[in-house]
Amino acid sequence: MALPSKTLSAACRQFSLLCRRFVGTTAVRSVHFSYVPDTPDPKHGSTTRMNLFQSITSALDVCLGKDPTAVIFGEDVAFGGVFRCTVGLRDKYGEARVFNSPLSEQGIVAFGIGMAIAGSTAIAEIQFADYIFPAFDQLRNEAAMFRYRTGNQFDCGRLTVRAPCMAVGHGALYHSQSVEAFFGHCPGLKVVIPRGPIQAKGLLLSCIRDENPCIFFEPKILYRAAIEEVPTGDYELPLSKASVLLEGSDVTLIGWGTQVHVLREVAAMAQDKLNVSCELIDLCTILPWDKDTVLASAAKTGRVLISHEAPVTMGFGAELAATIQSECFLNLEAPIERVCGYDTPFPHVFEPFYMPDKWRCLEAVKRLVNF
């Protein structure tokens, strides 16, 4: 299907609606963080300006171009996807390799597992992370355990599942969820969440080429809000490696996806208002996670704040906190703080109160330093 420029501008309009500011008599709301772009690594070559969805397209383009076995499929993928991540790929690589699936998440993931077993690189899109649950059986009982239960005779390591996740301003119960913790409980899977376009492209290419099945959650609010100079060529970023984005001495802040940007502001506020120096860590990979980086920082600062949008109970923060307290017990100066979503479904008009925003996080930093 040809995509005239009219279509593209329509697509942009479509997305801007999704992220639109509330005007009129309701709240004027914008994104709840300010985005600080990453700088590209010069060794990854020449760059161009891309937002996060374009950097995903770029990664998929690189992959389809180099790997003749690679295919991309999912609901509404053919026309470019509801978040525009696959725009133009069908024209470039043909309808056998970039195609719409029937509307069935369990079907999508299982089809991908089968393709991977038979030797294709399968890149499946689930339209929203909130809708991944019909595929939970296929991911948890099948993809995660394939290699193990077949005695390493068969595996589906060539499968990657992409899905948009996290809050977007007005997504309510079923367009806002952070579901990473469910999959953090599935040995055999890798779970990755990028914080911006450069990371997204490099991590996605790593996931696609990793020999284990990966789930790649893309923070949907960043699709347009995050813009960076992204290397145009092929590069990979290591999985299971956290990034230390700011070095500091008093408090360690740990997050992933959108929350990294909230925490970056918290670090600045802590410096300005409290004269507290924060170290900021983006976990990047949820499973298997980078203990070394996290523990080294916790041992250094002795104070840790973990923050995610998912409900606090059994969120992935619980796993980090448990490990940190057992490995760094003698270094800790204060109880580990978690600022997270509350233990309720994600509510529509109450989103401003539900979110683990910078004000809640800053209060937690105060508690940490005043303990």
């Binding site: 500011r21 509801v82 233990d343 109160f353």
Partner: protein, 442 residues
């Protein structure tokens, strides 16, 4: 109508199910064909496999899905609004037909206002029902008001028929203090206990097997009620759809599966969704009486639903209705359908085969309606919509602490702690939270 009911049976079951004799012999069920052929059938060499009801053949032949003609589309009104076969006239009173027309057009007016209001950023999201008004009103009118409805999301007309008020629609879209859903869900996720309409949930097809279960419960309660489950042809690809149809058939549930086949699931056309003859063709595979109707013909939808309801209740079994229609609007306010379909295609359905226009033609032919009536009603309905809209917009949102309610019947201590922490934090940092738009915290 009786004829239609018979036709429904035929499609699904080859007419065997009701006239059939089941004889148990040697622990095996022998199923014989129609009574007339019983004497010879008994001594033929027939497949004795459990559940078999066919014969042996001696030439290898595959069933060719493409060699059969598609399932026909039942229609009562032609595009000019004339009843094609008098025997199919539902003989509805003028008052009922006027209510049908009023609801279909009021829905249309409400859609325009709410769609536009989303464009202006007043509500966060919206989905229109353009083009599918006939499927909503035709089906709703044929039900008992106590029949339990499970919807997908594009069935606002069903609720409107039942008496969900403009205020209620608008309050839900604004998620304000009068929203029955308490501001928790996105716009268009309506529901009403009083109107026996189970609240909409975004995850597709989840309501389908639930509806089968509800129908089974209604059967046990012997209340003479059915469940009806609306779903899109896209949602019909979900695993839950299979479970729903199969459970309902096996457990003899009095449920009407009402598929709105509007040609698209967001951008995905039906040719990327299935290869068989639509959703109706599946009915036979499940052993479910099935009919395909012209969804843009409100009388055809009415007749089919009424007959389906009869079958559900008299025979205790499910019925599948596939209503063929077209989604004239974009999928939702997050979609621009010009990226995947032509303007000509859309305007064909809008101009040439529109359920509202067809019913209006009928009413004009009956001398029940004319241009003056149309003008007056347009003005009046728009006024009603704008009034409800302004009132809903003016209302505050529910209190922020109400987001902690209804997770469980009782708030457990750790959730109570979280609620207290939220209230304390927000109170101490008022300047960062839009408290003025919400009811006061308790």
């Amino acid at each position: 109508m009786y004829c239609l009911a018979r036709a429904l049976n035929l499609i699904a079951t080859n007419g065997t199910r009701f006239n059939v004799q089941k004889v148990a012999a040697c622990g095996i069920h022998h199923t014989f064909a129609q009574q007339g052929s019983q004497s010879t059938a008994r001594y033929e060499d027939k497949p004795e496999f459990p559940g078999s009801r066919s014969r042996y053949v001696h030439k290898l032949e595959f069933l060719d899905p493409d060699s059969q003609e598609g399932i026909p589309v039942y229609r009562v009104l032609n595009r000019e609004g004339t009843i094609i076969d008098e025997s199919q006239d539902p003989k509805l009173s003028r008052a009922i037909v006027e209510k049908m027309y009023h609801d279909m057009t009021l829905l249309n007016t409400m859609d325009r206002v709410l769609y536009e209001s989303q464009r202006q950023g007043r509500i966060s999201f919206y989905m229109t029902n353009y083009g599918e008004e006939g499927t909503h009103v035709g089906s709703a009118a044929a039900l008992d008001s106590k029949d339990l409805i499970f919807g997908q999301y594009r069935e606002a007309g069903v609720l409107m028929w039942r008496g969900y008020t403009l205020d209620q629609f608008m309050n839900q879209c604004y998620g304000n203090q009068n929203d029955l859903g308490k501001g928790r869900q996105m716009p268009v996720h309506y529901g009403s206990r009083d109107l026996n309409f189970v609240t909409i949930s975004s995850p597709l097809a989840t309501q389908m097997p639930q509806a089968s279960g509800a129908a089974y419960a209604l059967k046990l309660q012997q209340k003479g009620l059915v469940a009806i489950c609306f779903f899109g042809e896209g949602a019909a690809s979900e695993g839950d759809a299979h479970a729903a149809l199969n459970f309902a058939a096996v457990l003899d549930c009095p449920i009407i599966f009402f598929c709105r086949n509007n040609g698209y699931a967001i951008s995905t056309p039906t040719k990327d969704q299935y290869r068989g003859d639509g959703i109706a063709a599946r009915g036979r595979g499940y052993g479910i009486p099935t009919v395909r109707v012209d969804g843009n013909d409100v009388f055809a939808v009415y007749n089919a639903t009424k007959a389906a309801r009869d079958i559900c209740l008299t025979q205790n079994r499910p019925v599948l209705i596939e209503a063929m229609t077209y989604r004239i609007g974009h999928h939702s306010t997050s979609d621009d359908s010009s990226a995947y379909r032509s303007v000509d295609e859309v305007s064909y359905w809008d101009q040439q085969d529109n359920p509202i226009t067809r019913l209006r033609h009928f009413m004009v032919l009956q001398k029940w309606w004319n241009d003056d009536a149309e003008q007056n009603w347009k003005m009046e309905s728009r006024k009603m919509v704008m009034k409800a809209f302004a009132e809903a917009e003016g209302r505050k949102k529910p209190s922020p602490d109400s987001m902690f309610h209804d997770v469980y019947t009782d708030m457990h201590p750790s959730l109570k702690e979280q609620m207290q922490a939220m209230k304390k934090h927000v109170t101490e940092h008022k300047e960062h939270y839009p408290l003025e738009q919400y009811d006061k915290m308790t």
